[in-house]
Amino acid sequence: MIAPRRKTGSLPLLVLVGALAGCTSYYEIPIETPIQPKLDTSQFQRVFVAGFVAGGNDDIDGNLETVRLLRSQLRQKGALRVVESEPLSLTTIATEQLGIELPPPTPAATSEPSTDPPAGGIREERDLEPFDKFFENAEYWKKIGEEHQGALIVTGTILFRPQTTSGFVQREQETYDEFGRRRVTPTRVYMERNGYILRPTFVFIDGRTGETLHTETFREEILYNQNTQTPALSSFFELMDRLLPSFLNSMTSQKIRGTRVLLK
């Protein structure tokens, strides 16, 4: 139960607007607004995170890491049963199906075991464009669906690539005057920064028909000071963490909490 708000100064902004509103009686109340999921998953009992065409960085296996992460999230927060079978090596399958020729991988890329060959030619957004047709191949996806009891299939592309930028950024500079008083002034400094861009496209396919139900693309980036050493995998998870709620909202309803003001 929420007690009527009195103008005691605990919420100065509210008090101010209350005063502006002509001292009307008002009551702050918490609400939860339900947002319906984009996809109607009621016809599915299972979800199969099949795999991803991934590239952009040779330090991590974007396919395997994404599959692991999404399956884990769907197990915890989704309503559908998660199919636990080997992720598909979609870069290989797609390049063979579509006859896409990828440039050879860089030598350093062969050190880690991976579900797919090292990303090699997939370096930028445009390198993923030829793969769009792969997700439209209803016959192929229907076959995959049949192997997994007509599950909802989650697939797509993952581009996770390093980024370097340089330019002026605003920083706060701390100074002390002759009386020892601290002063913080914003200054613009030229900096070079390194980081990563994560650009996943999630494709949701009806495993019973092979048809695409929904596609969603995200883009997140993170930048560090040049002397900061952050492992690629750590940055990958940090960026994924930002967009996971939106990914999950495609399949499950979400409640957004907030407060509103009731008036008399």
């Binding site: 139960m1 502006l20 008002y26 109340i29 607004t33 957004i256 003001v261």
Partner: protein, 116 residues
């Protein structure tokens, strides 16, 4: 003839003021009861009360504001927008209604983005 018209108009004016005041009074009771039940989480009952209030007094901005909040809570976002807009039309300078509407729009934009 014209004297009769004037007399009828005057009579209507004299009667209308207490009737309007009475309707606002009844609407206010509905609004207050709606607030009480909303605070106990009984949002459907609150909607019923506030809908009744705007039937009684269609110029009651607070009732439209509260109704909009309840619709929001029930996920009826189109209805919520309509009720907020009506409340703002009735009281364009009410900062609290505007604040509620701005918060609502943030959520509505997110939902719209998902639909796009």
């Amino acid at each position: 003839m014209s004297a009769r018209v004037v007399a009828v108009a005057l009579l209507c004016a004299v009667v209308a003021v207490p009737v309007a005041a009475e309707q606002r009074g009844e609407a206010k009771e509905q609004v207050e009861f709606g607030i009480q039940v909303a605070q106990r989480g009984l949002w459907r009952e609150a909607i019923y009360r506030w809908e009744r209030a705007i039937q009684l007094d269609p110029t009651y901005a607070a009732a439209f504001n509260n109704l909009a909040i309840a619709y929001e809570h029930e996920g009826e976002l189109d209805k919520a927008r309509g009720a907020y807009e009506k409340a703002i039309t009735l009281e364009p300078n009410n900062a609290l209604v505007k604040q509620n509407y701005d918060l609502f729009k943030e959520i509505n934009d997110r939902a719209a983005k998902k639909d796009g």
